[in-house]
């Protein structure tokens, strides 16, 4: 239930068995079925979710159109951090693309762990630093690389997403229409 969570945790910050047991007390196991929401726009985001198994997406809806900002597969974390940290209503939806098993850290558990577990603070700092770096890289890529190159980078970096997520969602994530993505894929296939 917490295997991958603690595997990834230990890769960042090694824990003793006792520390692991202490942290486990504060974790909430949660199962979502495909298409079920973890978060809906307008609600306050009260959890940081770690994916043990399955897949989710985070997206905004504008004029009825979905804009995907993040996918999360096994070993990844997902949340609306703005809402989580400020207590303001969330601006994103998060739902399950497959039947999914999560490990949730609630806001209350997060605050308590920060107070009582110094290694949790280190883990969170690394997690948020990595999320910031990934966001910065994505922004740089979006404003500086040609679209074909962005797509190639994406497929090389996230082959699992390409396999498991429908093309129209990948197009949404890249800010393209499905037709444009289809043309790019055809063009790249012809090059081979």
């Amino acid at each position: 239930m917490y295997n991958l969570f603690f595997q990834k945790y230990n890769e960042k910050v090694p824990l003793s068995d006792e520390e692991q047991e202490q942290i486990k007390k504060y974790l909430t196991p949660k199962k979502l079925r495909k298409k079920q929401y973890l978060l809906q726009e307008g609600d306050v985001c009260k959890v940081i979710a770690f994916v043990e198994n399955g897949a989710l997406r985070e997206y905004a809806v504008e004029n009825g159109k979905e804009h995907i900002i993040q996918f999360a597969l096994e070993g990844w974390t997902i949340s609306d951090l703005f809402s989580f940290f400020t207590g303001e209503p969330a601006t994103y939806h998060i739902d399950a693309l497959e039947d999914t098993e999560l490990v949730l850290i609630t806001k209350d558990a997060h605050e308590e762990l920060l107070k009582t577990q110094p290694k949790y603070e280190t883990y969170m700092r690394l997690l948020i630093t990595n999320a910031y770096i990934a966001l910065q890289r994505r922004l740089t890529s979006n404003i500086s690389l040609p679209i074909e190159e962005r797509y190639i980078n994406f497929t090389e970096k996230y082959p699992d997403i390409v396999q498991r997520v429908p093309q129209h969602m990948i197009a949404s994530y890249m800010g393209l229409t499905p037709e444009t993505l289809s043309r790019i894929r055809k063009k790249l296939a012809n090059r081979k």
Binding site: M1, K24, K25, Y26, L27, T28, P29, K30, K31, L32, R33, Y37, L38, L39, Q40, D43, K46, L104, T106, D108, A109
Partner: protein, 175 residues
């Protein structure tokens, strides 16, 4: 996750014949089994109930309905909390009869539903749930107050049998 009245009322409900799977999916777990069966259910769901709100609705009545089987210094809810140490056990819905759920207004008055627990946010969530069902939520105190609440239902059952309320009766604090 959503707790607004409209959302709870419009939620899709599904019975799942597996306490572990159902509790794993749930945000709030209602242990709707007799007191004697709680130990077995708690053992099964202990891991998936971690940090979740678990509502204890049971009344630990003896077989002749003239007393409780729990010792005076504990309650069914406190015993459940010992079995699920990392869950947020809340006592609720134990001072109401089943028929009250379809008629939460008796003699024109909204029936009170008493709540007890140690976690503030869990009490708040339970109060919203009680209100959505149609009762007037009253937070009575911490989990030790469950002892009183379970005795209140013992008395209500005894009064029902004595005066034949037809299992449609409830508590109301007038003030």
């Amino acid at each position: 996750m959503r707790k607004s009245k409209a959302t709870i009322l419009s939620a899709n409900l599904e019975a799942i014949d597996c306490s572990v799977e159902a509790s794993w999916e749930a945000d709030i777990i209602i242990v709707a089994v007799p007191f004697e069966a709680e130990k077995d259910v708690a053992r099964k769901i202990q891991e998936v109930a971690n940090q979740k709100i678990v509502i204890s609705i049971s009344n630990p009545l003896n077989s002749t309905y003239d007393g409780l089987v729990t010792a005076p210094d504990t309650s069914a809810a406190e015993e459940l909390q010992k079995l699920l140490p990392n869950a947020k056990v809340v006592k609720a819905f134990n001072t109401t009869f089943a028929a009250d759920f379809s008629s939460p207004l008796i003699d024109g008055k909204q029936v009170d539903a008493f709540i007890a627990g140690n976690d503030e946010s869990a009490l708040q969530t339970a109060a919203e749930l009680v209100s959505t069902v149609g009762f007037n939520p009253l937070v009575a105190g911490d989990l030790t107050v469950s002892r009183t609440l379970e005795n209140m239902q013992l008395l209500l059952i005894q009064l029902n049998m004595k005066y034949n309320y037809n299992w449609l009766a409830g508590w109301k604090i007038l003030h």
